[in-house]
């Protein structure tokens, strides 16, 4: 346990330089590349000179960019940084938009794990049969299909034709524990809200998850077959152990790379969120970042980058812990 604690502290400490690095890079690109952001914020070509001067002063735009960055980070972390475009505090906006993205990605992630892994295993067990071929085609389509196109086709089917889904609003229960309705409803054992959340999110989550399902199914199939060909499996056979016992060994060994790639898929989900949220009318972090980018509101954008990097690093930390649980060779 003490080891785990030390590992966690060490890893959490590495978050800091990475977060600074990521936000700095994005800040650098976003702040330095466009010419005269203050004028853009003040309304473009016809901007009031007075307002522009005020904005320049307020956001230290007359200073070198690393000083700007310093003031931005300070203001952001102290929660005093106000977006010049929306006039809201950046943290406030993030708090509003984040739950949607978290629910979307969590449900997607569940789909990836619950659909992708079994598909891969079935495919490996039924290698070179029509079942295998079908699953491989499904998986391959997953990594080849443009999800925005798939989203439209499914909207046509489920919204226009069948009327099963809605494309506006998000369920919000009257209570709030974590601020994320999905988790709150589970904690409160509130089945109705839970079902409402699922009803609103299942299709966008499925669309977002499909590439990940494809990746995981293919990976599971290959690692499963790889493990099946390894020497210790030969030796399981040589000891006359039954087939299920052999699969037990194979599956546990295959889990090691699978867990890693599952973690990586979370990044893919966060990356796909802007597209999915835009099409399905979900007010989430991805769409928030898109609007910030369109309106040159780079302060909000870097804030969003900060949060997404944080989520992603946390997921990777969890992956590393799982890794060590599965594989005794890995030390914390």
């Amino acid at each position: 346990m003490a080891e785990l604690k030390r590992f966690l502290i060490r890893r959490l400490l590495t978050f800091i330089p990475t977060l600074i690095g990521v936000t700095f890079i994005v800040y650098l690109i976003a702040a330095v590349v466009p010419a005269n952001p203050a004028r853009l914020w003040a309304g473009g070509e016809k901007a009031n000179q007075h307002v522009v001067a005020m904005l320049i002063k307020e956001y230290h735009l007359d200073q070198p960019f690393y000083i700007q960055y310093y003031y931005f980070m300070k203001g952001f972390l102290e929660n005093t940084m106000v977006s010049p475009v929306t006039s809201y505090k950046v943290w406030h906006e993030i708090k509003v938009y984040m739950p949607v993205t978290i629910q979307l990605t969590l449900i997607s992630f569940t789909f990836i794990a619950l659909i992708g892994i079994p598909l891969g295993i079935i495919s490996a067990l039924k290698k070179d049969t029509w079942i295998d071929a079908t699953i491989r085609v499904i998986a391959l389509l997953g990594v080849s299909v443009p999800i925005f196109w798939l989203a439209y086709l499914l909207i046509f089917l489920f919204f226009t034709k069948l009327g099963w889904i809605t494309l506006s609003g998000t369920p919000t229960p009257p209570y709030s524990i974590t601020g994320i309705p999905l988790i709150d409803s589970i904690l409160k054992l509130d089945g109705r809200t839970f079902l409402e959340v699922i009803k609103r999110y299942w299709l966008p989550s499925l669309v977002l998850a499909y590439p990940g399902i494809g990746v995981i199914a293919r990976l599971v199939r290959n690692t499963f077959l790889d493990a099946l060909g390894s020497d210790f499996v030969d030796y399981v056979d040589a000891r006359g152990l039954p087939r299920n016992q052999m699969y037990r060994h194979v599956l546990k060994n295959a889990m090691v790379p699978i867990v890693t790639v599952l973690g990586l898929q979370f990044g893919g989900l966060l990356g796909g969120a802007p597209i999915t949220e835009t099409i399905f009318g979900l007010p989430g972090l991805g769409r928030f970042m898109l609007t910030s980018i369109y309106s040159s509101d780079y302060l909000s954008m870097v804030g969003g980058v900060f949060v997404i990097a944080l989520i992603y690093m946390t997921v990777n930390l969890i992956v590393d812990i799982l890794y060590a649980v599965i594989d005794p060779r890995v030390r914390y």
């Binding site: 330089p17 990475t18 690095g21 990521v22 890079i25 994005v26 690109i29 976003a30 590349v33 466009p34 010419a35 070179d128 391959l140 389509l141 990594v143 080849s144 299909v145 443009p146 999800i147 925005f148 196109w149 798939l150 439209y152 086709l153 909207i155 046509f156 226009t160 060909g229 990044g267 893919g268 966060l270 990356g271 796909g272 802007p274 597209i275 835009t278 099409i279 991805g286 970042m289 898109l290 980018i293 369109y294 040159s296 780079y298 954008m301 980058v305 997404i308 990097a309 992603y312 690093m313 990777n316």
Partner: protein, 395 residues
């Protein structure tokens, strides 16, 4: 002797003969450049022939190759065979072209020559969009856009990663640590969002640059098959390419670093170092050729990824700007009329799907064939028959 008997075992198909002829020609070429090459590399030539046989017998690989070939051919000749130019607004001449469903016949009267259209009756096989532009023509032009972006991205982005990975893996120590930390920073962040940010902020600078460098401008104008009047749209496309360079290297840096680390252990590197061969030469002339196979497989799998990402960026409105024909952008523009004008979404999406699918099928098969372990299982299935006879003869 072994090759001669191999011919008895393999039932050669036409394609096998084609690939044999190709490889033999290649081998003869090398032989001309460096006499004696053929004898020294006979085993390698035979191995390559076997790999081609395996490929020729993989229906998946063949399907992929066909899809990719169609894509490349359309990308090259598409702008010439398209019935209209990508931006010809037919609805100015005949209102029936406005959101015309697939198969609509449009009569173009006299007086439209200014748009570059001769009078006559035209059939819009895939329909028209909200400006009455012919969707089929736009999809043909769109192939060029996707193809050029793909090539330009893959020619630079991954190789930045390869170079950094080589350096990082070979030198180790502080160099390695620095490069890998920077790589990690790019990897903890979804590339698509980063690319969106880049594509959004870069155009203003790029258009400035293009204005001052006319030859770069006309180079891009030509390869994207754009009208000179649409220079202004170039900046956004170039921005997408640069944005994708920036997000496309970290994965390769990681991959190559890992491969270099294991390659470094080999005696040939040891020997090259002992002989006093320069580091650059060891890296690029000795290590790189040995890890090129996996890199090429990744490149072929990534080709689809680049097309998909580029389309995604255009769909989000940060890539190609109107009137450039770009598959992602056509879907974005058409989505406002969805589902009434479903063809504006359906057909360009199908084009993306088939192209990316082609690259993935091809890449998958290449990976299986280049990996000796899986290659065995591929040919195992093909080769049961000829053996039964041989056994009898042998006894």
């Amino acid at each position: 002797m072994a090759t001669k008997e191999a011919e008895e075992v393999y039932e050669k198909k036409v394609l096998d003969r084609v690939s044999d002829a190709f490889l033999d020609a290649l081998a003869n070429l090398f032989e001309k450049i460096r006499p004696g090459w053929k004898v020294r590399n006979q085993a390698r030539i035979d191995e390559w022939k076997l790999m081609f046989y395996a490929f020729n017998r993989s229906p998946i690989g063949m399907a992929g190759a066909v899809l990719v070939a169609i894509f490349i051919i359309i990308a090259i000749v598409g702008p010439w065979i398209a019935p209209f130019s990508y931006g010809t607004p037919l609805s100015l001449c005949n209102h029936t072209a406005y959101l015309a469903p697939p198969g609509t016949t449009v009569k173009i009267p006299h007086g439209c020559e200014a748009l570059g259209v001769k009078p006559g009756t035209y059939r819009l096989i895939l329909g028209g969009d909200s400006f009455g532009r012919d969707l089929w023509s736009r999809i043909l032009f769109g192939a060029r856009t996707s193809f050029v972006v793909m090539i330009l991205v893959l020619m630079v982005g991954p190789w930045i990663g390869v170079a950094l990975g080589l350096i990082s893996g070979y030198y180790g120590g502080a160099t390695d640590e620095t490069i890998m930390r920077i790589t990690d920073m790019f990897l903890v962040f979804p590339g698509l969002i980063l690319a969106i940010a880049f594509s959004a902020v870069l155009p203003s600078r790029i258009s400035l640059f293009l204005k001052t460098h006319p030859w770069v401008d006309s180079f891009f104008l030509h390869i994207f098959a754009l009208h000179p009047s649409e220079r202004g749209a170039l900046a956004s496309l170039v921005s997408v390419i640069i944005a994708l360079w920036i997000v496309w290297w970290p994965g390769y840096a990681r991959l190559v670093r890992g491969m270099v680390l294991s390659e470094k252990e080999n005696t040939y590197v040891e020997a090259a170092r002992a002989l006093g061969i320069s580091t650059g030469s060891i890296l690029f002339r000795h290590i790189l050729p040995n890890i090129l196979g996996p890199i090429l497989v990744y490149l072929s799998l990534d080709s689809g990824g680049v097309i998909l990402t580029e389309a995604g960026l255009s769909f989000l409105g940060v890539g190609a700007v109107p009137p450039i024909a770009d598959w992602g952008r056509i879907i974005y523009d058409g989505s406002q009329y969805f589902p009434t004008a479903w063809w504006l979404v359906f057909f360009p999406g199908l084009a993306i799907l088939l192209t990316v699918l082609g690259f993935n099928l091809l890449g998958d098969t290449l990976r299986d064939i280049l990996d000796p372990r899986t290659r065995r299982s591929i040919e195992f299935r093909l080769k049961k028959k000829p053996k039964a006879k041989k056994e009898g003869e042998e006894e």
